[in-house]
Amino acid sequence: MRSDRDGLSVIVQVVARWTLVLIVVYGFGVAFYGHLTPGGGFAGGVVVACGFVLATLAFGGRAGPAAAFHRRVAGLEAAGALTYLGMAAIGWTVGHFMQAWTPRGAVFTLASAPFLVVLNLAILLKVGAGLFAGFMVLVLFDRATGPSRDGEGGA
């Protein structure tokens, strides 16, 4: 398959690089404002993962932004999970596990619920990295067991 070795054409790669920026910004926007508007960490994370899947399809997984993301996927996933757990555990210092311990600003602003913003971003990291890792596992699995074993090394 052509896209496995070289990626798609230069036109597609340039467009994918630019749209990737927009997609990732949009994903973060969905997560950041999840406590004010529909959306949230999960939806934002899936949007980010979609962006990197697009980059993988355009660049073929060996190069480009998706490969850099792929190298950090385990760390990002762990960071998301530990942030969520850490935020929840800090609640113990003021009361109980999962207590919203951050100060709150005026309603209908970004600062109205910082606890939820941080949790949303943690979920974005977890879901974005996790779903992309799942995608890469399927691709690598397909490659390792597929009919055309020859000529294909890593991702």
């Binding site: 529909p38 949230g40 979609c50 060996r62 999962m98 600003g105 939820l116």
Partner: protein
């Protein structure tokens, strides 16, 4: 409104049956995508934009991944004979699930009619006690934060499980190497 919802639900059923009956895997995946998109419209009409957004983006990524997976290994795995033990275990699991579901649904209040009391509390208290204008987020991340923690754990465990199976099936562990963060270009192409 009800007519639209029922029509959409019928459309979803048709799409599901089509996805099951298609011989071509790619067509089946497209039918699944149609079902998912219809489902997100259904959620939107029912007044659940959070779920609708999540449904749309999940559907997009699932269809992308499935197309990527099926166009390579087209109709290869389908139709393998199953062992008797597998069938018995599957039927048993379905029976247990149906039993539990019947018991659980009997205990639930009727659909939509009398709201269970926690909902009233959440609606009344969400903004004051969490500061979130989006009540859904205040429930998902604050009142029911444990649930979200569990949901995140489910994703982690499922991907770890997929990785383990992929490594096992691939034999030499090469297939799993990327998931742990060592992909592209670090091993020479075995051409």
């Amino acid at each position: 409104m009800d007519v639209i919802l029922i029509g959409l639900a019928a459309f979803l059923l048709l799409g599901s049956v089509a996805a099951l009956e298609m011989k071509n895997l790619l067509s089946a995946v497209i039918a699944v995508g149609v079902v998912g998109m219809g489902l997100s419209i259904l959620f939107l009409l029912l007044g659940a934009p959070d779920i609708a957004i999540t449904q749309v983006v999940v559907e997009v990524i699932v269809v992308t991944v499935m197309i990527r997976a099926t166009t390579r290994t087209a109709d290869e795995e389908s139709g393998r004979p199953r062992s008797l033990a597998t069938v018995v275990a599957g039927v048993g699991a379905v029976l247990v699930l149906v039993g539990v579901a019947v018991a659980a649904f009997a205990a639930l209040p009727r659909f939509g009619a009398p709201r269970p009391t926690p909902s009233d509390f959440y609606l009344a208290e969400a903004q004051r006690s969490t500061g979130a204008a989006n009540v859904v987020t205040s429930i998902v991340l604050d009142f029911r934060g444990y649930d979200t923690l569990g949901e995140a754990t489910v994703i982690l465990v499922s991907i770890a499980g997929a990785l383990v199976i992929a490594r096992h099936v691939a034999g030499d562990g090469k297939a799993g190497a990327g998931g742990a963060g060592a992909p592209s270009g670090q091993e020479a192409p075995r051409a």
